[in-house]
Amino acid sequence: MPASAESYRLFQAAAAVIPSGASVAPLSQPRDPVRETALHREAVALLPGRRVIPAALWDAPTHQEEGADFLIVAGPRPSPPPGTLLLETERGTVWRRVRR
């Protein structure tokens, strides 16, 4: 299955657990700014009503994901966990970030 179809399904699933108005950053695991640039573009389309924060733009990291309420991680479950796990699918995970 093409990568875009994988992430399409992940974002469709994530849309069910991320509330409207929340901020969300899509990441890849392992981290890859090229992949995260593509993920950001897809997330803008597939997560309407949420504020999508880019972890990478034009294939360069932005480090802006720190400010997001939720993280969508495409690929295997990250370690250590970046927050509270909300959803896990074959294609990735959705996390609520824990504010310190």
Partner: protein, 440 residues
């Protein structure tokens, strides 16, 4: 699923909006199918025009109001035809359809079904649907206007904020009607528009040529576009809209209809749609109007023809440029490098890249067959130069653009050239119809 049906069926409002104009007696020589398809295209141009105008003055979109405004405008345009010689000339009566005509209909139906299968299976889905067209339309529907803050967002500059608004407007209209953006339904606009073309192009060409030629030419054009659309992945993007407007406008401009007020009015709406659908649509409209005025200057009143053919596009695109400028989104269109910074040393690279892109879509048969139809046409009437000249202008513009910007344009050409050149087959086919002198 329900939202998808609603999303797609909302486009039934387009022929309703355009019908008050197409119901004018001046268009009664066209078949019902042709008038319905032309009403769809005219309604699309009017509805999108009103959406841009309302965004410009800061009024929110409401689907019912938009349809009413577009329909009222079509009715007002119909009234403008009342006091002049407007009727299209009636083509001579022909008997029952023969084998060639039936084969042409069969080929067109087959092309629509192939486009439907390609779109429904996601094989024809455009990557740009998610990257820009759908994402923008969704945001605009939520804002109930063209969302300038969305277009100004520097992290979203890849969405090409200066792209003209027709396709995002119409997709936003459908999104408002359905309650959400329906990605699957959006890809089905490809077979929908192929069907619109298959319904209306035969009737538009019938004004110029015999039924046998008109139907055969339409079938060739529709099958070429159906095939190219599947190969190039245009489901959900702007290309099928552009094809529809360009093909119908050209078919009218080469025929006797362009001598009448009714024909010129219809062509004007189609050209307005063309110039608001894609960036290269502006070049198409400018080239088509210029060539029309050059080639048919003795048949029409130049002043009224210029007004008929230029004002709607100027209003349609002018309101978009004004919106962009007043909201500090952009000024004019994006450019790929400085205009005069032409890298002629890349010419062979660009030409070979274009050749490869065209060849990769069915060994270039969608281009070569229409070219053969043009070259084998039994005569060379001057009006063939309208579609052929526009094709040459589009090709020259594309090559010129590829000579700018990126030091290695190979990747850029490979994913864009097929779509940029995709209107050419239809224009060549229409050129083959226009080349026949007996109808002029």
């Amino acid at each position: 699923m329900k939202a998808g049906y609603l999303w797609l069926s909302s486009f039934a409002c387009l022929p309703l909006a355009g019908w008050p104009l197409l119901a004018h007696p001046g268009y009664r020589t066209l078949s019902l199918a042709a008038r319905t398809g032309l009403a769809f295209a005219a309604g699309a141009a009017l509805l999108s025009g009103w959406m841009t105008a309302l965004a410009l003055v800061g009024l929110p979109w409401q689907p019912a109001v938009l349809v009413a405004l577009a329909g009222a405008t079509a009715f007002a345009l119909r009234l403008s035809l009342s006091n002049e010689r407007t009727a299209l000339e009636t083509p001579p009566f022909e008997g029952p359809a023969g084998l060639l005509e039936k084969s042409a209909v069969f080929l067109s139906v087959l092309s629509i079904l192939a486009a439907l299968v390609a779109a429904a299976s996601s094989a024809a889905t455009s990557a740009d649907l998610i990257l820009l067209w759908g994402a923008k339309a969704q945001a605009f529907a939520a804002a109930r206007t063209i969302d300038a803050s969305f277009l100004r967002d520097p992290s979203l500059v890849y969405m090409h904020p200066s792209y003209p608004p027709l396709v995002t407007n119409l997709q936003a209209f459908a999104t408002q009607a359905a309650g959400r953006f329906a990605w699957g339904a959006a890809t089905l606009t490809f077979p929908l528009l192929i069907a619109v073309l298959a319904c209306s192009l035969p009737g538009a060409l019938r004004l110029t040529a015999s039924r046998r030629i008109a139907w055969a030419a339409s079938a060739l054009a529709v099958s070429a576009l159906g095939f190219l659309g599947g190969e190039l992945g245009v489901g959900g993007n702007a290309d099928p809209w552009l094809w529809t407007f360009e093909a119908l406008a050209t078919a009218i401009l080469i025929g006797p209809a362009a001598r009448s007020g009714a024909g010129q009015l219809l062509a004007e709406l189609l050209l307005a749609g063309t110039s608001a659908a894609k960036v290269e649509g502006l070049l198409f409209a400018a080239a088509a109007v210029t060539l029309f005025l050059m080639l048919r200057r003795r048949e029409v009143r130049i002043g009224s023809a210029v007004a008929f053919l230029v004002i709607p596009s100027a209003v349609s695109l002018g309101s978009w440029f004004l919106f962009e400028a007043t909201r500090h989104v952009f000024y004019g269109y994006e450019q790929y490098g400085r205009f005069l910074d032409v890298h002629w040393d890349r010419l062979s690279l660009v030409l070979s890249g274009i050749g490869h892109a065209l060849w990769s879509a069915g060994w270039a048969l969608p281009y070569l067959l229409p070219l053969a139809a043009l070259l084998l046409a039994p005569a060379r009437h001057r009006l063939l130069w309208l579609p052929v000249g526009v094709s040459l202008a589009l090709c020259a513009f594309s090559v010129f653009t590829y000579l700018h910007g990126d030091p290695d344009p190979s990747g850029w050409i490979s994913w864009s050239a097929g779509r940029i050149f995709s209107p050419v087959p239809v224009l060549l086919v229409i050129g083959a119809v226009g080349a026949r002198p007996e109808q002029h």
